[in-house]
Structure formats: C-alpha cells, structure tokens
C-alpha cells in the first residue's frame, strides 16, 4: 500500500478521476492473458507525455515499481505488476496524431488499437503490415513493447521493421526522442531498436512514428494438403529456397487437424491428409498466378494430395476458417495448454518438426504444432492434464528439451511473445552469461532503481536454478 502523500501527488498530476486504489480497479488491472494475478497498489490513466513523465519521476524518487499497460493481452506476463506499484494504463492515449501520405508515415499514441490504424491507413491505399492474432484489440504501444509479429511477417517483417522513431519517458522521467521520420538516420546509437521489444523495462513509449507502405493490389489464398508432415515441413523451406516469399505461410500438423475433426469441424480435406500448408501471396494482380504456379511446381514432388486455390473471397475465407478452428479445438486433447512460440531458421523447420515428434513420443505427451512456419515461427502446444500425477515435472522436462533443441538449431525460444515472467527460466538456454550481463548493464544504466516493469525478462534467481514453472494459460 502506498502512503497517502504519494496518492495525493498522483491525483495532483492527472486529476482524481483518473487515479484509483479501490479494490475493484486493482483487481481489474492485476492480470493479463497468462492467467496469473499480481495486485498493483494504484491504477493511473494518464493522457499526455508530460503526465507520464511526472508520474515516472515521482515513482523514481519514491522507488515505486511502475508498469505501462495497454490492452493487457500479452502471453508472457509483460503487464503483470509482479511487485505491485503503479499500473500506468495507456488506453486513453489513443489518438492517431497524423498520417503523412507524402512520406508514408503515421504518428500515433501508444493506446491506438492496431486494427484501428490499419483500417484508417487502408482507406488511403496504405498498409501497416504487422498483424498479431490480437490485432483487433492489442495496442500499438504493446506491439512495440513486445515487438509483435503475425502471419504476414514472412514477407513484411515484424513491428521492429516499421518503427522509425519514438517518444519515450525514461525510467528517470526524462522525455527523449529516438529516430525520426527520415528513412536514413545514423546519428548516435539506435535507441529505437533498443526500446522496441524491451517489454516496457526501459521506459514508457508515449508516441510512435510508424513506417507505412503502399497497399498491395491483390491477394490470393491457397491450401495444400500433404501425405506426410515431413512433406509439408519440407515444403516451407522449399518455397523459400525457390525464391518465392509468400505473404503468409502457415503450417498445420495432423494432430491439429484431428483436433478440429474431433471438435466436429468438417475440413473437406482428402482422407489421408497428414499436414496442411496455407499460403497467401500478394502483389500486382498479374503477378499472382505466376507466383501460385511456381509454388505448385515447387511443392509437387513432396507428396501433395490436393491444391486448392481460392477463386473468390468466400473460398479464401473458408480456407482461413480451417486455421482459425485450431486453437478453440485443442481442448479435445487435454485441458492444459503450454503454448510456446519458438522460431528457427526457415531451412531448419523440417528438423525442428521431426525433433518435436520425437520429444512427444518419448514423453508420451501430445504436442500440437501449427503456426507461421514461413518465418520459422512454430507455435508448439504441449497439451497436458496437470491434474495427472507428476505431469508438472514432465512438462518442465518437455519444455526444456524443446527450447534446447530450438537453440541447437540456431533458433530462439521466443519469436514474438517475449520473455516476461513466463520464459525467464529458459532465457539462459539461449543467452550466454556475458550477453545477459550486457543486457543487465543497460537496464541498470537506464533504470538505476529498477522501477520500470521490474521482475521481467531477467531471471530473478541464479540462472543456474531457474524459477519454478509458471502456470501457463489453459485454453
């Protein structure tokens, strides 16, 4: 509990209607999409950079943890107030300040919902590609903090690739500008890239300059059914090696398909389908058919049962319906889901998939794999029933082995969800003590009192003995 003096000061900064320490408000800001709960001490809704700066200065002086929060839809605990303190809700800072059609740049506040910006720029023939699954409700501030990805990243890259500049309130309350509107900029360190993906541990982003691109003229969706999982996995790397970069390249394995079938979904797929790729290409309309033909040619030798190319919007929608049916159907297998967003270089996707099958068989635990694959990002879902005796320990072993294999294949333990609290136990599998030490040094230099989203990314204990397994979200 914070003392009254601090609460009074907060009220003085933003007005009493935008500060609350009533239990109801604390409870509604105590969670995110990880199903864990940590209570904050006070919830504040600032509306300007100046207000944020004053609040952070106060927090720094009084050494109170402070936690920027957008939609609270993260998967790794990035917005959990693990040490209490001030939750800084940025949803009311939701103005699209400017869309500069001369320079193809948008300037936004962090509370703007991703899809809102996308709709707005698309009306002007422009395009903001990053499309996390949560784009209809996640905020751009949250996307920047986590460096969000999405299916279109295969061709267009991730959030980082579209952030040109930021206004940031540093952990000591200073207001700084990083980057800018010019395409080229080599003045000093690239602080923009440091802040993007820092999970809100190095400051509060209060304004974002985003790069836009012209909207592609047309799009075509296709579904390819394979006789084997290896064939489909091989397909991913074959397409890339064949120098075709689709907009999206989604992989669905047979366990995911059978979950949909068990949930009563009719996929209309050939009987012996073991895996599916959903592929979308975009560009000028006359470039689409040649791209589709090239993909068909590349995939033909890999055991293809059927290739379905959507001729209409409805047919394309029917294909995507297959993909969207997966997540809700996973409960068919087991009640608890551990969803890990590992990523490997694209050529290593087949090896990774084979390794996952082996791990699944060895521990006798169902692992469902699907996801973006085209950028090497596989959503690995370990489905278990934690009520079974010894299952917690088994899951811990399974996850550790998955992450070790990922890193051995030159991959990363998280492609787009971040570390937060959920993946702290595994960060040392990927990062050497020296690398982690460098990161800690940066954190220490910018945030001497460790007030800015403390308890995230870095393992709290000795990296040799990781934190106990955190309970992950159960779909």
């Amino acid at each position: 509990m914070l003392n009254q003096d601090i609460l009074d000061k907060l009220e003085k900064i933003v007005g009493s209607s935008r500060v609350s320490w009533q239990q109801v408000d604390l409870v509604t800001h105590s969670f995110d999409a990880t199903q864990r709960q940590c209570m904050p001490d006070v919830v504040v809704h600032p509306t300007t950079t100046q207000e944020v700066s004053q609040i952070v200065k106060l927090a720094n002086e009084e050494k109170i943890p402070i936690l920027p929060r957008g939609a609270g839809s993260g998967f790794t605990g990035g917005s959990l107030p693990v040490r209490g303190g001030i939750v800084l809700v940025l949803t009311r800072m939701n103005r699209i300040i400017e869309i500069d059609t001369d320079n193809l740049v948008a300037v936004v506040e962090p509370g703007v919902v991703t899809a809102h910006l996308q709709r707005k720029v698309e009306q002007l023939g422009l395009f903001y590609p990053p499309d996390p699954a949560s784009k209809d409700f996640s905020t751009l501030g949250g996307n920047v903090a986590e460096c969000a990805g999405g299916p279109r990243c295969v061709k267009y890259g991730v959030t980082r690739d579209y952030v040109m500049g930021l206004t940031v309130v540093t952990p000591t309350g200073d207001i700084i500008q990083t980057g800018g509107r010019a395409i080229k900029n080599v003045v000093g360190y690239d602080l923009t890239r440091l802040i993007v993906g820092a999970e809100g541990t190095l400051g509060v982003v209060t304004e974002i300059i985003l790069r836009l691109i012209p909207q592609p003229e047309a799009r075509k969706t296709m579904l390819v059914a394979f006789t084997s999982i290896e064939g489909a996995a091989e397909g991913v790397s074959t397409i890339i090696r064949g120098k075709v970069i689709p907009t999206t390249l989604e992989f669905i394995d047979n366990s995911a398909l059978s979950c949909i079938r068990q949930a009563g979904g009719d996929l209309g797929l050939p009987e012996h389908t073991q895996a599916v790729l959903i592929i979308e290409v975009d560009g000028a309309s006359d470039q689409l058919d040649p791209q589709v033909a090239r993909i068909e040619e590349l995939l033909a030798p890999l055991g293809v049962l059927e290739i379905r190319v959507a001729a209409t919007q409805e047919e394309s929608e029917a294909i995507w319906k297959v993909r969207r049916a997966i997540s809700p159907s996973l409960r068919q297998l087991n009640p608890h889901k551990f969803n890990e967003d590992i990523v490997v270089p694209r050529s290593r996707v087949p090896e990774m998939i084979r390794a996952l099958e082996k791990i699944s068989a060895h521990y006798n635990v169902p692992i469902v794999n699907f996801g973006h694959a085209g950028d090497g990002n596989i959503h690995v879902n370990v489905m278990v029933n934690l009520d079974e005796q010894g299952m917690r320990e088994t899951v811990e072993k399974v996850l550790k082995e998955i992450f070790e294999t990922t890193v051995a294949l030159q991959g990363s333990v998280s492609g787009e969800h971040g570390i937060g609290t959920a993946k702290q136990p595994y960060i040392a599998i990927e990062l050497s003590p020296e690398t982690l030490g460098t990161m800690r040094a940066i954190k220490k230099a910018l945030d001497p009192h460790n007030i800015m989203n403390p308890g995230k990314i870095f393992p709290e204990l000795n990296p040799e003995s990781p934190l106990p397994l955190l309970e992950n979200s159960a779909v």
Partner: protein
Amino acid sequence: MSNQKDLEEYAHVLQQCVRCGACQAHCPVYSETGREGSVARGKIVLAASVLSGQVVLDERLQEDMGLCLLCGSCVTHCPNQVPTDKIVGALRRKITDQHGLSSVGKKVAKVTGSKSLMKTLIKGAEFLSPLLFKKIPESSGLRLRFSPEILKGRSLPPLAERTLFDRVPEFLEGDPEKGIVTVFAGCALSYIYPQWGELLIRIPHRLGFSVYFPKKQGCCGMPALSSGNSALISKLSETNIGALNKKKSSVILTGCASCRGMLAGHYAEKSGSPFDSKILDIHQFLVANGVDKILAALPQKKQTTRITYHDPCHLRSEGITREPRALLQALPQADYVEMEGAGLCCGLGGTFTAHHPDLSRMIGDKKSSGLKKTGATIVASSCPGCILQLQDIIDRNGLQMQALHTLELIDQALTDEQQS
C-alpha cells in the same frame, strides 16, 4: 420459482474465460471508456473475485457492473462463448438481493409505491398522458425502460390513445389448415407503438394464420433483468409462460428484439425453454412463409424511398441478420442501402441509458456518420428501444431521417398492393 441462475452456478463457467482480451474489440462501452472494468474480461474476473471474497459488492463494483448494455457482442465474439451477459445479470441480481434496488430501480420502486410521487412523475413527464400511464401495468418494464429519467429531453413518438389490447381481439380466426400462431408483443409495442404491435398480429393473419394474442401477457422482464430485480423477473416470466402456453400453437412470434432475447434466452437460462412452441422473430417467420418472395414479385414503384437497416443487438447476437434485410431488399417502394456500422449498438441498453446518459449518447452517436452516409430517409429496425434511441440520435445530429419498425414498411407494400 426463479428460472434465473445464481452467480454461484456460473462458477465453473467463469473459468472458461482465458483472459485473451478479444472482448475489448467488440464492447461498445469499453470503446468509450478504455477501462478494464467496463469490458467482459474485467467483469468476469470481478465476478470470480466476488465469489472468492476478494472484492465485495461495494459501490465501485456496482458502477462497473452497471457499465454493460447486455448487448451480447462479447459473447458472440468470445473464442469460448463465455456468457458474460448472463453473468452480469446474475451479479446484478446478487447486488439487488443484498443491497436492494439501486438508482433507477429504486426510484421506480418508490414511484410505484407512492401516490404523491406518482403525481410528480407524471408532471415531470408531461408527454405521458396520465390516462395512458394508468393503463400501463405496475409490473411493466416501461416504468423502468421508459421512465422519466430515460425520456427526459428525448424525441418521443406521439402517444397512442388506445393500447394494443384495445385494438385487437384476443383471437383472430384464420384458415384452419394454416394453424395458430401466438403473439407476444411486449410493453413498447403494446403501449407506445401499438400501431406496430397491431401489424405483428395483422400480417400473420393476412397470411391466413389464426392469431392468438393472450391478454394476460405482461412485460418480458428485460428491464427488470437489467436492473437486477430477480423477484420481478420471476413474477413476469411466470405470467408470460402461463399465457403463452395456454393455446396450442405452432410458434410464438415476437416483434421486439429484446423481448425475443428474454423469452428465448434468459427464460431458458436454468432449465431449457419453458415454452411448448418455438420462439420466432417476426422476420424469420415472414421469410419462412415466403413474404420476401411475395414482396419481390410486386410491381416496382417508380418513385422509391431510400431506406437502411439497424441491427438490434438482441437479433444480431442470435444471428438473425439476413431475414430483415431479405424483406427490406424486396420492398417495391424502397431502395435498400446497407449502412456502415449497421451492427453497432445504439447505446440504449435497457436501464443503461438511465444510469449513464452521457455514455449512452456517446455510444449512440457513433451511428450518426453511418446513418448520414447512407443518404436514406428511413432507417428501419425491429426493436422499439433501438427505434426510440435511433430517432434521438437522428434529431440530435440534425439528420433528416425517420426511424421506424420494419413491419410498417412491409405492411405499406402489402396494403398498397391490395388497394391497387
């Protein structure tokens, strides 16, 4: 006996919420407030916290629970279909059980219990003729839904002299082979818009059906649900179930989206539908009986009126969006255009508008640009509450439009045909 579930009975359902946040994209209230307590996910966490004792039913909680239109958008779009509207209903009943009726609910209870206050109410609501107000049963949701707090400063329809019960007989004989349909009109179509209520009875009769309109029916209970008044809901549902089951009929027809939501949804909350026949929205019934085809076959008028349609939440969330459009598109006297944001909530939300008039207006005003862009002079809908709110939005934003019930347009076409 209550057909509503207690909050405790939803305990296991609360666990189905995975806190993903998808409801944020669809909640009309959250889009205005940006506050977690306004949206389904926050309310579910609060409901769980009430059960665990982590939060108490204090004023702050009541305020957040009041911030729900019961529109059902969050339920439709939830990956796990968590029934937040029902959970909020259960929580509001819990609040009422422990603290009594609050705000509007309390005022209404006071008013109906005191003659002097009743007079003040009538004085304050000059537009309501004392005569008419006397005719509205004390248990009617109109006393909540169209109470002076809600009607203050609002565009109102001229009130009808005769209620629906004075306008039509209890039973209208039709072609014996066609069978009987039972009609549930609800308060607004009985007292405020009886001319539309009459169409709900006359059009099926014109199609050859015998129509049973039991006089014993009362308010559906939506406003009572909205204000958490469990005793009143039980009383009303008991009356209505008895009245509507009295005569064997093929279907029970509704012409008010919210009434339909109550009868088909909330009455069935605990142990399935209490009715002997299926509840059908009038549009579903008309399309099933080929009225869209009949309308399409009529000679097209030379002079047409441009019209559009607003989806009432309680039809949209049940997937009833195609039928009203099929009928409107088939009209010979109208040129139908789809409105941008046709499915956006109008912001009325039962007693919501009385508790939060400014927020209700802000949500409603989101419709104005869509309405304007259509260039239509008529916006049709099929929920009297929506129609009332739409006319208010139209007038407040200086648009040249009229909001009316789809049945009026359908009747117009059928009557013109008969006369020519």
